[in-house]
Every structure is written in C-alpha cells, then in structure tokens.
C-alpha cells in the first residue's frame, strides 16, 4: 500500500472509529433542518421553495462543525510534525486529509439530505439531483474547510473562527449548488450550467486548496 493510500485509510478508519464526530454532524444537520419550520411556519409551499437553500446552508454549517478535526488530532499528538518530514509532500497530506473529511462527513451529509428534504416537502423527483449536486459540491466544502482548519491550528475557539473565515468563501458553492436544484424544480432554464460551475469549483478546490492548507500548516507548526 502506498504511503498516500495508507494515510487515507488510516484517517478514514480513525474517523469511523471515533464515530461520535460523524454522528454529531449528522445529528446537527437534522436538528437545524427540523428547527427551520418552527421559525418559518409550516406552510408546505414555502418550505418546498426554500428547501434547497435550507438543506445547503445547514449542510455547510454541519460540515464546518467537524472541520477542525481535520488536523487537530494529529496536531495534538505530534503526528503532524512527523508527516511534515515524511515521504509525502505536505500539500498531498493536506489533500488526503481533506479527502478523508469528505468521505466521512461530506458524503454522509449529502446522502442524508433527501431524507431531510422530506421534512421540507422537497419534491421527490428532485432528490436524485439534490444528492448528485451535493456530492459534486461537498469536495469544495471539505477542501476549503481544510484551509480554515490549518489556519486555526491549535487556537482556542478555533471552530467558530474557522467558520467565520471560511463561510464567505462558500458563497459561490452555495449559489451554484442551490441554483442547480431550484432550476430543476422551478426553472427557468437548465440546471446543468450551474451544476458544471459547481463541479468546476470542486475541481479547482481539490487542486489549489491543499497548497494553501500546507502553507498554513507550516506556519502553524514552526
């Protein structure tokens, strides 16, 4: 097994074993979506209209909740220092950890979204597209979250600070992610242009974000 794959497998295993973190993210997602109608009223038409936006925003928040654990555990026990001097280039390490976060947080959240969509009266035939869109967009979420996690390494209240730093960067993901689903439901026009933009954002994040994250890790470890 190559070192890269080994690191990925290790991180995914650790996250699953920790279990709690993933469960908490899913639970938070559920709670936020449940809370919304209490604030907005039970009008199903209204809920159906805002469902894509709601599901996306709640997903962003839930993903950010677990973002500071991308590097935290390894930072605490010194593994991160070892990884810096190891055979893998640091940007690759950051990329692998971001990928692990996506696999253990982004994907579960995306898969849970349609279930929550039921609560918000999201049309059933929109659900496959919703899942696809979220699967396409959550890599951007995870990889950008890793930048925030690396910048706030070891700081107090890093979770909140991380969210403050990173949420403005999610505006394009949110816009294109929600528009894809909305346009499929209501129109006007085809949902595929925003969907392609979303994919482009994810691809760009996968390629570029690890370098920023690695640079931030180096400043935090010095």
């Amino acid at each position: 097994m190559s070192p890269a794959v080994a690191l990925l497998v290790r991180d995914v295993k650790l996250a699953w074993r920790e279990g709690g973190a993933i469960g908490v993210a899913l639970g938070f997602y559920l709670v936020v979506v449940v809370l919304m109608p209490f604030g907005l009223g039970p009008d199903l038409n209204l809920l159906a209209r805002i469902a894509p936006g709601m599901l996306w925003v709640a997903l962003l928040l839930a993903a950010l909740l677990s973002a500071d654990r991308i590097f935290h555990n390894d930072y605490e026990d010194g593994t991160l220092d070892v990884l810096t001097t190891g055979p893998l280039p640091l940007p690759l390490v950051a990329a692998i950890k971001s990928l692990a976060h996506w696999l253990t947080t982004g994907v579960p959240l995306a898969l849970m979204a349609p279930v929550l969509g039921l609560l918000l009266n999201l049309p059933l035939d929109a659900m496959p597209l919703l899942v696809l869109t979220m699967l396409a967009g959550t890599p951007a979420v995870s990889f950008v979250a890793a930048i925030g996690a690396s910048l706030t390494l070891g700081l107090r209240r890093s979770g909140l600070l991380l969210a403050l730093l990173v949420l403005p960067l999610y505006v394009p993901v949110l816009i294109f992610g929600v528009s894809t689903v909305s346009m499929a439901i209501v129109g006007p026009g085809s949902p595929w242009p925003p969907f392609l933009m979303l994919c482009a954002l994810s691809l760009a994040s996968i390629v570029l974000a690890p370098f920023a994250a690695a640079a931030a890790l180096r400043t935090g470890l010095r």
Partner: protein, 245 residues
C-alpha cells in the same frame, strides 16, 4: 520598498511625513466637502441624494483598493519576506473594514430614498458585504494568534485565498442576480454620472486616499512599537525567571 525595510528608518520617515499628511487630508477633505455640497448640482433624476454618492463611491474604491494592498503585502510576507509587509497588512485591515462599513451604510441610506428599501442584494453591494466579512475574518485571525510572526504568515495566506476567491464570488453573485432580478430592473449602480459631478468625486477620493495613507502610517508605527514592547516584556520575563530561579 527595500530601503524602507529597516523599521527604525521607517519610523523616522513616519515622524516626518505625518504632519504634512495631516494638513493634506484636512485641505482635501475640506475642498471635497465644499464641492460636494455647494458646487455640485443636484442630479436631475436623484435630486440632492446624489450627494451621498460623494462618500459612497470613493469609499468603495478605497475598500477594494486597500484589500488589494493587503493582498500585495501578503505576497511580500510570503514570497519576499519583507519585514514590514505583515505590519502593513495588519495595520491596513481595520482601515479597509471601516471604509467597507461606510460603503454599506451609505449605500443603504442612499437606497432607501432611491429604491424604497434599505438593502438590495444586487451584485455590487453584496460583493462589498462579502468583502466586509473577509476583512472581519482577517482581523479575527490576527487577534487569535498570539505570536506576530505566525499571525502575519497565516493572515497573509488568508488574504491571498480571499483575493483569489473575490472574483469568483463576484461572478457568482452577478449570475445569481440575473436569475432573481425582479421585473422592475433598477440600475443599482446608479445613474450614469454627468461630468460636472466628477470633480467632487475625485477630490473626495483623493482625500480618502490621503486619509488612508495617514492612518496607515500611524497604525504601522503603532504595530512596530507594539512588537517592541512585547519583545521587551518577554525578555523581562526571561530575566526575572533566570534571576529569581
């Protein structure tokens, strides 16, 4: 730039320049305000409220320009290790945030008589709102990291990430706006500007630039001194530890 890298020499320069700059700011601001209120004619569409533009538009230019300066300073920190680059970036952020705040508030106050609402989610204002959040993030990051070296490098990375994202955000907000544009299309950018209105605009812009440079230099000096104080306090603690132990 290189010759100013020496902090002590830089401080000497600040000492000399500040009084002149202060005078310049006062003159330019006075001239700008006079032109804005007494010379510029009311716009035939917007009436007197166009005078708000004389603060709103130059502030927007400064808000964006200062972020560009921070991004360039970030490059200076990360690539060329210029010793004053992160000081410049840290000092500029609160000033940029204030200008952005003024843009948003004056935009809101301009919007109410113009279009009937205190806020519109048009592309420009929304992008400026996001810019405000980016400024807040930078300031928060600086506050959160104790050691100035690490703080400067981390903030530089964040500034560059933000700078790269800003065009993407602007583009996506533009696109989002065309989706949701209501039937009554208003030119949120304001009417086309008649040349007779331009002079006060440029004078106010010049005044703001002078104000920025003045405050920036003072803030940089304060930051340099703050780091010296911190270093002295630390060496004092070490002294006490060695002596007392």
């Amino acid at each position: 730039m290189i010759s100013l890298a020496n902090p002590t020499r830089f401080l000497g320069l600040v000492e000399i320049v500040v009084p002149w700059l202060t005078a310049l700011v006062v003159i330019l601001l006075g001239a700008g305000l006079y032109l804005s209120f007494f010379v510029a004619p009311p716009d035939y569409q917007q009436g007197e409220t166009v005078r708000i533009m004389y603060i709103h538009v130059p502030s927007a230019w400064l808000a964006m320009g200062i972020y560009a300066i921070i991004a360039i300073a970030a490059l200076g920190t990360l690539i060329w290790r210029h010793p004053l680059a992160d000081v410049a970036a840290k000092a500029a952020a609160p000033i940029g945030a204030t200008f952005t705040f003024v843009v948003l508030v004056t935009g809101s106050l301009w919007g109410k008589p113009m279009w009937g609402t205190y806020w519109v989610w048009d592309a420009r204002l929304t992008s400026l709102l996001v810019l405000f959040l980016l400024y807040l993030g930078l300031i928060a990051l600086w506050q959160a990291i104790e050691e100035p070296g690490r703080a400067g490098r981390a903030a530089a990375i964040l500034a560059l990430v933000g700078a790269i994202n800003l065009p993407i955000i602007k583009f996506s907000v533009d696109w989002w706006n065309t989706l949701h544009q209501p039937a009554s299309v208003f030119r949120a950018g304001g009417p086309t500007i008649d040349p007779s209105l331009l002079t006060p605009l440029f004078v106010m812009a010049a005044a703001f630039v002078a104000l920025f440079v003045l405050l920036h230099l003072i803030a940089m000096r304060a930051e340099i001194l703050r780091r010296r104080v911190r270093a002295l306090q630390q060496s004092q603690v070490e002294h006490a530890a060695l002596a007392g132990a």
